[in-house]
């Protein structure tokens, strides 16, 4: 430390050694090491996910020890040696780790990857052959929301155990090709929303409502602005040149960009401060002239549907945004014929996406009337149209350049920063950037809908389902977002992946003053699965049937009709999934029984659950168009509008295109998701990119291949080889060479191109929900083994075996990664995740699983090919998550005999249920307590 450091007012010069090089930064001493690395040294590989020590994304090595760079004042780094993801690490360990991460598929979105690499490097520098436990301890402070940690732990353990060069070479369909966009993710080179902006960009900070419901009046903002040097503008609703509203559906643009006189949830945007970063970060919200009149908020669906509840939106007096319905047969008849009937009410909570990258980006004007936005997103074309409406521009005047997306899971399907940045840039005519804080991201963006589901099911004495009915209310919060999608998707799926002739499923999406709920991996189906699987366990218990058996008897298969009347002609592999689990299930039951015989306090249980999920939008056209171009220089460019959110679509689509075209994956140059350069591939959601865009990619590749073969006058069996501008073609003895540079070309130099469009065949649903809502469905069954401490009410998931029918695993490593990550999210949904506005709006109080919470996972891939899909493939993104929570609940019930219908099963909830059960058992004594051995009759 410099001797004259006190008083250390403004800036101090700090010398550091960063990745072996001497560096000096001159900054305020309280500046965090993370900010100094990113903003002063341009080392944006170090990510900021929370600025509070809670996520570990910013982990670097300081003097050899892992630290959160967001918690280190730069003053304390004086003279220190620092390693970041950009360097090769102590003794080159980071370089070795990178290769292992790529090889094992340990990086998905890549937002946690720099932190993971550094945390692992600190361990391997001390201990090259660590135990699994040591690896968990070392990376336990870094959260990953994508991978479920399994492949990360495997990668770290493998670094010095085996050689792991990134897989290359054969990268065709079915191969474990290392992700094509992976290198940037493991080197820190990847550009996320906060990693890039013009140097001269102004900063935008949003003032958000601290109230869930309030009226407000703005005072003289311009007078205020003039008192603050560096504050260039204050943007409000009055500055929106077009429509001050956005929303997913054309008729439901109900959310203002900036609130107009009233706010409907805590976290709603009121105004924006635009200026230098120092200026906007020095203004307290309380200084602004805003007069608030807080009003009593309407929280939860019961309150919103109650008598005299105020209307959240004048246009919707009863607060019911949408109703969904499916009806077939006659449920009364079904119930009447039953050997067993059961019913229950199930409750789920708000769940936060908790992607590690908070929303960020920048906007800039290009010429007088065009705007370009660089930001993280799952839906660039929807963003383009939304921004165009807000600015009052034709869509072609808006360009969306998606940044790398550090996790989405549905949370980045809605616009967030985009319209705010657009209005600020439009008003100031200068580039404007912003980065959401973690708390801002959690308080203001969408959540999984909390659900209250009342459901009733009946079966005959063999366990065959006779009737199923449900009524589900979803809290959609203050604005519509994807509420209608949830309300329409759930009725189709609510009775589970089972044959049942009499079904009545009804849903409502209800407005409240809670945080808006939108899309989250599964669109309401995970909530519904908790209900239908809970009832299946009830029926098994009532009929004395094994829980696996009752599911196997009812499982939908080829030749069945779904409750919407859809005939399943292909690819319905649930029976195969269940059969694949049979042995494990029986072994699990035996293990559990043996354990419980010796352990009265720590009881184990086995659970099982099934799921299904329609791939693509519900009964709506959702086309995707792909283009592959070969230019005169021999560059093969894949124009792919499907944004990658970490799930691997970029890699999968290239594998499909490569296989069809007959050229290797390395031959492709990629342009992904740029609305100026690619065709609309639709949004990255609904498990549709492999299935829909994959098919479009196959069609585009086939189109290009046909043109090449025709030009060379060869047959289908010909092989291709690209050698600079020469395309060499061989068929048997025939050898041809196409000189691409000699071919006529368009103005971009493209000599040959293939274009493919695919829109999955669906039909509209009638008023009873009858029709063909999806072209294909993913199916899965999972079994879970848990251990419950019956004194403390804590649950540890020990093992999950997951069998998934994916049609075809185009890249097994990526499919497994989706399933493992889905299991982690399902575990969180079941056991710990509960977003409460104002109370759990940071990653300290809102808990997602850490590496130490993950069970051992075994995956069984079932490939029942879907003829519509590319090479038989269908989606897995959402199916991965859905069965996990109900399987865990089933296992808790088996372990303890108590049935929990409220998730998450926090320790105190389970403890209370156990206490009640003990109390009622005491009352009933001496008669033996019913269902005392839990679950079904099989144990």
């Amino acid at each position: 430390m410099d001797g004259d450091a006190s008083p250390g007012f403004a800036a101090m010069a700090v010398s550091l050694t960063v990745n072996g090089a001497a560096r000096t930064v001159v900054v305020h001493p309280f500046t965090t090491l993370a900010d100094a690395l990113r903003d002063e040294l341009g080392l944006t590989g170090t990510k900021i996910g929370c600025n509070a020590g809670d996520c570990g994304a910013c982990t670097v090595l300081l003097g050899g020890a892992q630290v959160c760079a967001c918690l280190v004042p730069i003053a304390q780094a004086q003279g220190c040696e620092i390693h970041t993801v950009e360097g090769s690490g102590p003794n080159g360990i980071t370089d070795r780790l990178r290769r292992a991460f790529l090889h094992h598929g340990a990086a998905q979105c890549g937002a946690c990857t720099p932190g993971m690499l550094m945390a692992a490097a600190s361990l391997l520098a001390r201990e090259p052959h660590p135990s699994r436990e040591a690896v968990c301890d070392a990376v336990g402070g870094v959260l990953c929301r994508c991978t479920g940690y399994t492949k990360i732990v495997e990668a770290v353990m493998a670094v010095f155990a085996s050689s792991c060069d990134a897989a290359g070479g054969e990268g065709r369909v079915g191969a474990r090709l290392a992700r094509i966009d992976g290198w940037a993710k493991v080197t820190g080179a990847e550009r996320f929303g906060a990693d890039e902006a013009p140097a001269e960009a102004l900063w935008l900070r949003i003032l958000r409502s601290p109230h869930a419901r309030a009226a407000f009046v703005l005072g003289d903002l311009e007078a205020f602005r003039r008192t603050k040097p560096g504050l260039e503008a204050i943007v409000t609703a009055a500055d929106v040149p077009g429509e001050n509203s956005f929303g997913i559906f054309p008729n439901l643009k109900d959310q203002p960009v900036f609130a107009e006189g009233q706010v409907r949830f805590r976290g709603e945007a009121v105004l924006g401060l635009v200026g230098t970063r120092a200026a906007i970060e020095a203004i307290d919200d309380a200084e602004l002239p805003i007069a608030w009149t807080p009003l009593p908020p309407v929280s939860g669906v019961e309150a919103a549907l109650g008598d005299g509840a105020p209307a959240i939106h004048a246009a919707c007096p009863d607060n019911v945004l949408t109703r969904g319905r499916l009806s077939c047969g006659d449920v009364a008849t079904g119930h009447a014929a039953a050997a067993a009937t059961t019913e229950g009410t199930f409750r789920t909570s708000f769940v936060e996406h908790a992607y590690i990258e908070p929303e960020a980006g920048y906007a800039r004007l290009v010429g007088p009337d065009r705007i370009e936005i660089f930001a993280c997103t799952q839906a660039p074309y929807m963003d383009r149209d939304e921004v165009a409406r807000v600015l009052g521009l034709p869509p072609r005047h808006v360009r969306i350049r998606p940044s790398a997306c550090g996790g989405g899971f549905g949370g980045k399907l809605d616009v967030s920063v985009q319209p705010l940045l657009a209005v600020a840039a439009w008003k100031t005519r200068r580039p404007v950037r912003m980065v959401y804080s973690r708390i801002e991201s959690m308080a203001s963006t969408t959540k999984r809908h909390p659900a209250v589901i009342r459901a009733k099911a009946s079966a005959d004495s063999e366990g065959r389902l006779l009737a199923f009915e449900s009524a589900a209310d979803f809290n959609t919060g203050a604005y519509a977002s994807w509420g209608p999608t949830v309300a329409n998707r759930v009725p189709v799926h609510a009775s589970g992946p089972y044959r049942v002739q009499n079904v009545l499923n009804r849903t409502r999406a209800v407005y409240t003053n809670d945080t808006p709920a939108g899309a989250f991996r599964g669109f309401g189906v995970p909530q519904a699965a908790i209900a239908h699987e809970g009832l299946m366990d009830d029926l098994a218990e009532a009929l004395g049937l094994d829980r696996w058996t009752i599911r196997r008897r009812n499982a939908l298969t080829k030749g069945d009709r779904t409750p919407s009347g859809q005939f399943l002609s292909h690819s319905a592999g649930l029976p195969t999934c269940l059969d694949a689990l049979k042995e494990d299930w029986e072994a699990m039951l035996a293990r559990v029984a043996a354990h419980n015989a010796r352990n009265p306090r720590r009881r184990r249980g086995a659970g099982i659950a099934c799921m299904w999920y329609g791939c693509g939008n519900t009964s709506m056209s959702n086309p995707s168009t792909m283009r592959i171009a070969l230019d005169r220089a021999g560059q093969l460019t894949f124009y792919n509008g499907a944004v990658e959110i970490g799930q691997g679509s970029t890699t999968v689509l290239v594998q499909i295109a490569a296989e069809v075209l007959g050229l290797p994956p390395e031959a492709f140059t990629l342009v992904v998701g740029d609305t100026d350069l690619t065709f609309d591939a639709g949004k990255t959601s609904a498990s549709r990119q492999t299935f829909v865009s994959g098919k479009a990619a196959a069609l585009a590749a086939r189109d290009l291949r046909r043109k090449i073969l025709a030009l060379a006058n060869v047959g289908e069996a010909a092989t291709l080889h690209l050698d600079g501008a020469l395309l060499r073609i061989a068929e048997g003895e025939v050898r041809r060479t196409l000189d691409l540079s000699a071919l006529p070309a368009d103005r971009d130099g493209v000599a040959l191109e293939g274009v493919g469009t695919y829109d999955p065949p669906t039909t509209a649903l009638d008023e009873n929900g009858q029709g063909v809502p999806y072209a294909t469905y993913g199916f899965a069954a999972q079994i879970a083994e848990v251990e419950v401490d019956t004194v403390l009410g804590t649950t540890k998931v020990l093992r999950i075996v997951a069998a998934h029918d994916v049609g075809r695993a185009v890249n097994p490593t990526l499919v497994e990664g989706q399933i493992e990550g889905g299991i982690a999210q399902g575990l969180g949904l079941a056991l710990m995740e509960e977003f409460i506005p104002g109370r759990t709006e940071n990653l300290h109080d809102y808990l997602i699983p850490t590496v130490g919470d993950m069970p051992e996972i075994e995956i069984k891939l079932v490939e029942d090919p879907e003829p519509e899909g590319p090479f038989g493939a269908k989606g897995v993104g959402e199916p991965a998550l859905i069965a996990t929570a109900p399987a865990i609940l089933s296992a808790i019930r088996h372990a303890t005999g108590v049935t929990i219908r409220h998730v998450p099963v926090l320790p105190h909830r389970l403890w209370e249920a156990l206490r009640e059960r003990r109390a009622s058992a005491d009352e009933l004594r001496p008669s033996p307590s019913r269902g005392g051995d839990g679950g079904g009759g099989e144990s």
Partner: protein, 290 residues
Amino acid sequence: MTAYFCPATLDEALAIRAAREVEIIAGGTDVYPNRTTRAAWGQMTCRDLLDLTAIPGLGGIEERDDHWRIGCLVTWTELLKARLPPLFNGLKTAAREIGGVQIQNRGTLVGNLCTASPAGDGIPNLVALQAAVEIAGPPGRRLVPVEAFIDGYRHTVCRPDEIVVALRLPKRGALDRGAFRKLGARRYLVISIVMAAGVIETDATGRIGDVRLCIGACSAVAQRLAPLEERLLGKPLDASLADLVQPGDFATLAPLDDMRASAAYRLAAAEALTRDLLADLAAGERRRAA
């Protein structure tokens, strides 16, 4: 703009502390998250800061005649690596379970104490160890027993012109030992729902000569279980210890209902953890709760 002071001597630091209102920063693992939370809702201004880390002599763990002295800059990791008698097993267990390794590498035990959070994992251990807090101020040094140091919810008797320089932990017999049980809703990075710390001293016959048990996160300030401690005196160190625990022993706790747990659950968990803790102490081993 926030002023930031990095004095090179304790005297300078005390002079700054006496002259103006400054917030002390050591590892920063509480200071920065607090700033982040305030900024998210538009409270952008920060207090001036006094960084202690450039002052020599504030770190290190020293064995002295009748006590161990832990400097105010000693981190959880340093604590974990130090060779200490079994008396400190509880404190070490706490260190191992603070946040993740990143937090352990930076956060200090004294910072944990000074934050005085009801959920601070260090605090019940320090109470059980009968730590004395060594405070430097304008008139010189004073020693305050840790139970008197925290005088309210997130509040201590450390005055604005004072600095905590060290903790003194009295030495005990070679066989005396400590233990700690933490209950949280996930494995890493988790704030305690309830925790229990204890130290047992054995007499010449191997029976309990003295015992101190302390529960955290169930009241504004961590609390001793005096009636239970009394009942345990003179008892043999075996598995039956846990049977001496009675629900009434927890009557003085006043846990909160919050998003982490209900009050009723916290009380029951305090009782369960205490039984587990006594079993650990009797068995002489350290195990993780739940």
